[in-house]
């Protein structure tokens, strides 16, 4: 089986910087870790450090100030060494905090997992119990528990565990409920695993990060709560050194000997700051919601190299006559960790006024990044435009100041994105969002703009547009939401509409209606369009010309009927051949072996050569130019004459192909 060989070529997965690397780049978290580490080490070493006995009283030397001869931090009201008591007290606080956090996490997450996994009555019984605990103010509850059990450090810890269990139970239940519906849970049941196995091996490992995050951010709290109970005399009992207790003792001496209260206060502060900073750092690494660069600050426009750098490899002549938009030698790269991804590589494209062009390619081929580069919408970092120019009516869009770019965005060039549910604002009625698009570029009064928005909704086929303008995105179907997206794009009668897979998320019948609408409105408005899709069928219905992308480059371009009927690049030909068409009937699907190359490790020569049955030695080295193969038809292939003459199957067989 050819696929075996193909998959055997290991797809290299570029790892993002590891967890430790991420952590060490977070300076605040590192500070917290160091602070906490130092405190913890000192506390753990207390028995071996040359400290005075913390409980040894010396009434003669009561309330000695810090930096006294025998006591570095002075002594308290009974003449006990403050330094020693602070170190021993920290030890107690840390142990109590960590143990309490561990116990609360274990009990709380067990309750949360069981409630979410079994649902129904188990869920109701467990969670209503948790709700009852949460109904009491937590300090009051802790006080009541200690009052019932009697004051002691252990009892204070039990009280703190009990009041913290609800936090864990609730957050773990929340995560687990979402996970219970995941397909891998269904798959685990189909694998014949028992409920205990599913909880232990499937659920628990996935819930663990949430537990760790919640625990690491709550240790600080628990230390403070323990100190609070000790301060009230309900925790550690004299003579045991405990930070909260020390603070309580020193409170009465604030005017006579301020250091007795201040020093344990500072110790508590340092521990809490250290633990919390460390906990935040751990959360940033483990929290899946923050993983995809949620913390990175994105610039308003893509970073662009200087014009001199961009134009270095570009001929000054050869601009297309009368083009609305022209991309010349566009290069967009992503730098992630140590690797450079050439998402868009030396791309040339021309769009004439009123023309519809299609960009076709698989994921990772660079089609979306090409489209986003036009108006500087590629996220920076990590994206950067490093070469070429983008001429819109003769003006280079790259390197424009942000205000000028904003004036063009949504006005002369408008975008329609794939999933309108993520691009529309969920908390604003759709009419108001169309109004916003209008007023961003036109001087219109509120009433005027609203009327115009309603007219736009009418023109995109929304029934009862006056009513629907007040609806929120979630109240509409996917097809209607995409119609809103189209209305917003058309609001300012743009010269160019960039549509990125606008119908991929829609059902077939809805897709057909939305495509027809888009085609009709584009013609009425005489706007040009760039239509991005992975589907040749969709592109063939809408576009005049087509660009096929592979590995960040244009590999073939031409009029739609030429490219689809007489493909000149083996990739186009093989891709067309392996997509089933209606009416072919049951047949063996012949796939292209292998996978597209990751753009951080492109092969020399033609990027498709490793998967190509026609590849010869010359295909694997040097730069392969985009050559003309017919009127308005070009292909980046040394073997295109053969492909055109015999088709890729015939040529492959004649050549004794290597697929």
């Amino acid at each position: 089986m050819s696929a075996v060989l193909a998959e055997a070529a290991v797809a290299r997965v570029e790892r993002r910087p590891g967890a430790l690397g991420q952590f060490t780049r977070n300076r605040v978290a590192v500070f917290g870790a160091v602070l906490f580490g130092v405190i913890a080490v000192i506390a753990l070493l207390a028995p071996v450090l040359p400290l005075a006995n913390p409980d040894h009283t010396d009434l003669a030397n009561r309330m000695a100030p810090p930096f006294s001869r025998h006591a570095l931090l002075g002594t308290d009201q009974l003449g006990r060494d403050m330094l020693s008591r602070v170190v021993w007290g920290t030890r107690v606080s840390l142990v109590v905090g960590v143990v309490a956090a561990f116990l609360a996490a274990t009990i709380g997450s067990t309750i949360g997992i069981l409630a979410a996994y079994y649902g129904r009555f188990v869920d109701i019984a467990l969670m209503r119990g948790i709700d009852m605990l949460m109904a009491f103010p937590y300090l009051l509850l802790a006080l009541a528990i200690v009052a019932a059990l009697g004051p002691s450090l252990t009892h204070a810890m039990i009280a703190i565990v009990i009041v913290n269990v609800p936090f864990f139970a609730r957050s773990v239940r929340g995560v687990t409920v979402g996970m219970r519906r995941a397909d891998f849970m269904a798959a685990a049941r189909l694998s014949g695993q028992s409920s205990a196995q599913i909880i232990a091996f499937e659920l628990f490992p996935n819930v663990l990060p949430v537990v760790v995050v919640t625990a690491s951010t709550s240790i600080g709290w628990m230390i403070l709560e323990t100190a609070g109970l000790s301060f009230l005399g309900l925790g550690a009992q004299p003579p045991m050194a405990d930070l909260g207790g020390m603070l309580g003792d020193g409170r009465n001496l604030l005017e006579v000997a301020p250091h007795v209260a201040t020093i344990p206060g500072i110790a508590i502060l340092l521990i809490a700051v250290g633990v919390n900073l460390l906990g935040d750092g751990v959360r940033d690494i483990l929290d899946p919601r923050l993983k995809s660069g949620g913390l990175a600050r994105i610039r308003p426009a893509t970073e662009v190299a200087s014009r001199a750098d961009r134009m270095a490899r570009l001929p000054q002549t050869g601009r297309a006559e009368g083009a609305l938009l022209e991309l010349r030698g566009l290069e967009t790269r992503f730098r992630i960790g140590r690797s450079v991804w050439q998402a868009v590589n030396q791309v040339d494209m021309v769009v004439h006024p009123g023309e519809a062009i299609g960009i076709v390619g698989e994921s990772g081929s660079g089609k979306t990044v090409t489209a986003l580069s036009i108006l500087g919408l590629v996220a920076s970092p990590p994206g950067r435009i490093e070469g070429g120019e983008i001429l819109f009516n003769g003006e280079d869009l790259l390197g424009l100041q942000t205000p000028r770019l904003r004036a063009i965005r949504g006005d002369r060039i408008a975008y329609v994105f794939q999933d309108p549910l993520t691009t529309l604002n969920p908390v604003q009625p759709v009419g108001a969002q169309v109004v916003e698009a209008l007023r961003a570029h036109q001087r219109l009064g509120r009433k005027q703009a609203w009327d115009k928005a309603v007219a736009l909704l009418d023109s995109v086929g929304i029934p009862e547009p006056g009513e629907k303008a007040h609806a929120y995105p979630h109240e509409m179907s996917g097809g209607q939401r995409q119609r809103i997206g189209i209305a917003m794009a058309l609001a300012n009668q743009p010269d160019l509409i960039v549509a990125d897979e606008p119908t991929t998320a829609l059902d077939v019948t809805t897709q057909a209606r939305v495509l027809k609408l888009l085609a009709d409105l584009r013609r009425q408005n005489a706007a040009a369009m760039i239509f991005i899709s992975h589907d040749f069928g969709v592109v063939s219905e809408l576009c005049d010309r087509i660009y096929v992308m592979y590995g960040g480059r244009v590999v073939e371009s031409g009029r739609v009927q030429d490219v689809l009927n007489r493909p000149a690049h083996p990739y186009t030909a093989r891709l067309l051949a392996c997509v089933p068409r209606i009416g072919q009937g049951r047949h063996r699907v012949v796939p292209i072996p292998g996978l597209p190359p990751p753009t951080n490790a492109l092969p020399n020569g033609c990027a498709f050569a490793p998967r190509c049955s026609l590849a010869i030695a010359a295909c694997r080295s040097g730069e392969i130019e985009l050559g003309t193969v017919g009127p308005e038809h070009s292909a980046r292939c040394l073997r295109s004459a053969l492909v055109l003459a015999e088709g890729v199957e015939g040529a492959g067989a004649a050549d004794g192909g290597v697929a």
Partner: protein
């Protein structure tokens, strides 16, 4: 289509008899009882042995609910689902899993992100086939080979695989149970076009070699046309048309089938 009600050897691998699945809907008012939504509304179908039954329809037509009922993840509200002539409800979970398995739409979502592929594949081998450690290790290697993946990939985690590779692992897991029937719920919809062709070719190859019966669910008419021996068109929980692909795709008799065909991209210039 086998005539319903024949003896159990000749019984189709999967037979659906007037299957209904209802979900609780909203309450019109606090005192009124909840309305009921019929996701699947009286479906009767037979899956042909060693061949492929295609089910096409748009999102929300009930095809995924139907798939989950066939493998016993959801009980039907009314009607019977017979696997080898016996109702699904009469089987123990593990017995049923040895007969019928499922491949899910989202290739990465159907793999536990915190388990290696080996552990994911070994779970059904231990629970359903009762294999010991050594036998499991050998079988995992065989399974990886069967779906065209290198055996040493088994020690990787799901995030290290592409969509197409993940879907191959999903197929390997379904094969691990040695079930004869696979329910494929949109198995190639989340994949890129060239990868989609690879997975389709793999499924066709496995069916030929292992004699599997497929229930192939998809919204893509062209894909169903390429793999199915019989096609059912589903709309709002009902089967509106049933037949061989040739008839369905060239001479559709139901208006909805005609609309689906007309909507398929690439049929016309807008």
């Amino acid at each position: 289509m086998t005539a319903p009600g024949t003896a159990s050897d000749a019984a189709p691998p999967v037979a659906l008899r007037s299957v209904v699945r209802e979900y609780p809907g909203r309450r019109p008012s606090i005192f009124a009882p909840r309305t009921k939504l019929r996701a699947v509304d009286g479906v009767s179908l037979d899956v042909p042995r060693g061949r492929t039954l295609g089910i096409v329809g748009e999102s929300g037509c009930g095809k995924s609910t139907l798939a989950r009922m066939m493998v016993g993840l959801l009980p039907p509200t009314e009607g019977d689902i017979l696997i080898g002539g016996r109702p699904v409800g009469a089987y123990q979970r593990r017995e049923l899993s040895r007969l019928i398995q499922m491949v899910f739409q989202d290739p990465t979502g159907s793999l536990n992100p915190r388990r290696t592929v080996r552990r994911t594949l070994e779970a059904p081998l231990a629970a359903l086939r009762g294999m010991n450690q050594a036998a499991r290790g050998r079988r995992v290697e065989e399974l990886m080979g069967l779906v065209g993946l290198r055996a040493d990939f088994a020690d990787r985690y799901p995030h290290e695989f592409s969509g197409g590779q993940s879907q191959r692992i999903g197929i390997a897991r379904a094969l691990a149970a040695e079930a004869d029937i696979l329910v494929l719920d949109e198995p190639v919809s989340a994949l890129d076009v060239s990868v989609q062709a690879q997975v389709l070719a793999l499924l066709q190859d496995l069916q030929r070699r292992l004699g599997l019966s497929y229930v192939f669910i998809s919204h893509d008419l062209a894909v169903v046309d390429a793999v199915a021996d019989e096609v059912a068109v589903m709309q709002r929980g009902r089967i509106v048309e049933f037949g061989v692909p040739d008839t369905i795709f060239t001479k559709p008799s139901h208006a909805y089938t005609r609309e689906l065909l007309a909507s398929h991209p690439g049929q016309h210039k807008v």
